[in-house]
């Protein structure tokens, strides 16, 4: 495993440079926006990566809470499987209710990814490790979310003429960022023994909040139409290819950062445990 880390690092560096070259040179220039549009190749992959990391954080937090008890763990397993099956059937059964542009197959893919990730995390991480995973993904997720919130206005200023608009996606992303910053603040300020439980509870609350945030702001903003509208329509396949290459590169980078942060956290906890153990053993050795 120790050898895999530098190999992955080199691979990520190569992939990131290739993706940079693709984004700056190979990708076609956008007709109306010009070269500014190339920020898209950083903005969107960062957003997807951040959302994925927050999602993993949610799954890890849930597992930390349910795995404390054998019975709730079993129930949670069945609930996840039932949800997965439901997500696979529902879009075909209620095809007409889906919003325009959403295909049943994409919903099913999301469901399968959800169930797969849940059991993958369960298999790979012990109960204590899920807490470390939650911490790691929240920290790295906040970093990527910050990148999204910084590159967004940089892109919006020349294209829309404004730095910021209280549009549904912008506002929800900002609120998501706020929730996870408060999560990190809680972790920083709570006393060590209780941090995992409190943080996991907050993560679950945050995840419950996200759909409500999105839905409320969506309704709020559709009531008051915006003067500026982002360029909709379909995307050039060459652009999509560059976007996906960038996303893969960003995912590798995120994985690398998460991994090293995870290792750091594990070492930190091992040191703490050893110190606590030594403190316990000290008086006994003095008696001898």
């Amino acid at each position: 495993m120790k050898k895999a880390f530098p190999i992955l690092g080199l691979l990520t560096a190569a992939l990131l440079s290739y993706a940079l070259y693709q984004a700056l040179v190979v990708a076609p220039t956008e007709q109306t926006m010009g070269d500014v549009q190339r920020i898209f190749y950083y903005h969107v992959p960062s957003a997807w990566t951040a959302f994925l990391l927050f999602f993993i954080n949610f799954l890890a937090s849930i597992q930390y809470l349910v795995r404390r008890d054998q019975k709730t763990d079993t129930i949670a397993n069945w609930v996840v499987i039932a949800l997965g099956v439901l997500v696979c059937i529902a879009p075909y059964a209620f095809r007409t209710l889906l919003p325009a542009g959403v295909y049943p197959s994409s919903v099913v893919t999301t469901g399968i990814v959800f169930v797969g990730l849940y059991f993958l995390i369960k298999r790979l991480f012990s109960e204590q490790q899920t807490d470390m995973l939650a911490l790691t993904t929240a920290e790295v997720g906040v970093v990527f979310c910050t990148v999204v919130l910084v590159t967004g206005p940089l892109w919006a200023r020349p294209v829309w003429g404004i730095w910021w608009t209280w549009d549904v996606r912008l506002t929800s992303t900002l609120v998501l960022w706020l929730i996870y910053v408060s999560y990190l603040v809680l972790r920083r300020f709570s006393s060590s023994g209780q941090t995992p439980v409190l943080a996991a509870a907050l993560a679950v609350f945050g995840a419950l909040d996200v759909p409500l945030v999105y839905f409320s702001i969506w309704f709020f903003r559709t009531q008051h139409p915006q003067p500026v509208v982002g360029g909709g329509g379909s995307i050039d396949p060459r652009m999509l290819r560059v976007l996906l290459i960038n996303w893969v590169a960003f995912l590798c980078f995120a994985f690398l950062v998460c991994w090293s942060r995870y290792r750091l956290e594990r070492t930190k906890r091992e040191v703490e445990e050893t110190q606590a153990l030594e403190a316990l053993l000290e008086p006994r050795s003095a008696l001898r």
């Binding site: 706020l178 609350f205 419950l208």
Partner: protein, 227 residues
């Protein structure tokens, strides 16, 4: 009376009696809300007709800020003499305690709202142009939304350093959808534009309440016993 409701009732009456005698929370909340009203009045012209558009937001932000003052004191009282630790080792269900505390806060914040609303009407010359009865479900659901999460996060921030600051940091981001619903519903009712209706916001607020009350009840035991 079954045991869990008995515990809830006992805790609730104890809290209300304590508050009735000391009036700590209510007084500080009232004064704080009054200060917010006065300070806000300097930031814009309270007499202007456009102020009606932001009055709903103003009222709820003032209530939210004031509620935090009371919520911070909810659990601090139980820390003295290790009451909370005693509760933790007792076989009493954790949710009875939570419901009692949330109901107590609900009563305190409702009293605050009842006392502050006339003041708002006088200071900002508010008139309800829409269906006024809809303000009642908005007030009840909105207060519960603030209070149920506030009580939960107050119990959470009890375990942290600088807990008085922690509560708003945890509470405000999560409360955003509820706050938006309350503000929009209230503004819609106050402005009384016949083309819009507050019904959607009331339904959303009710959904928020159901989701987070369930979440609080499911997780409160875990948080209370976290060691």
């Amino acid at each position: 009376m079954s045991a869990p409701t008995g515990i809830t009732w006992a805790t609730l009456t104890k809290d209300v009696r304590l508050e009735w005698r000391s009036k700590d929370a209510i007084n500080s909340m009232l004064f704080f809300a009054l200060l917010v009203v006065v300070v806000f009045s300097f930031s814009f012209d309270p007499e202007a007709e456009e102020s009606r558009q932001i009055a709903g937001g103003l009222v709820w932000v003032a209530f939210l800020f004031a509620a935090v003052v009371a919520l911070n004191q909810t659990w601090a009282r139980e820390l003295r003499n290790q009451v909370l630790d005693a509760y933790r080792v007792s076989p009493a269900p954790a949710n009875s305690l939570f419901v009692a505390k949330a109901l107590g806060n609900f009563i305190f914040v409702s009293v605050l709202e009842a006392l502050m609303t006339p003041l708002f009407i006088v200071f900002y010359k508010l008139r309800v142009l829409g269906p006024a009865w809809q303000l009642i479900p908005v007030a009840i659901l909105g207060t519960w939304a603030i209070v149920v999460n506030g009580t939960f996060f107050a119990a959470m921030s009890l375990r942290t350093r600088s807990r008085e600051i922690m509560l708003p940091l945890l509470l405000f981001p999560i409360t955003i959808p509820a706050l938006l619903s309350m503000v929009e519903a209230t503004t819609t009712i106050l402005v009384g534009d016949p083309s819009t209706s507050a019904k959607f916001w009331i339904v959303l607020l009710a959904t928020y309440d159901v989701v987070f009350t369930t979440g609080c009840l499911a997780l409160f035991g875990t948080v209370l016993h976290a060691e």
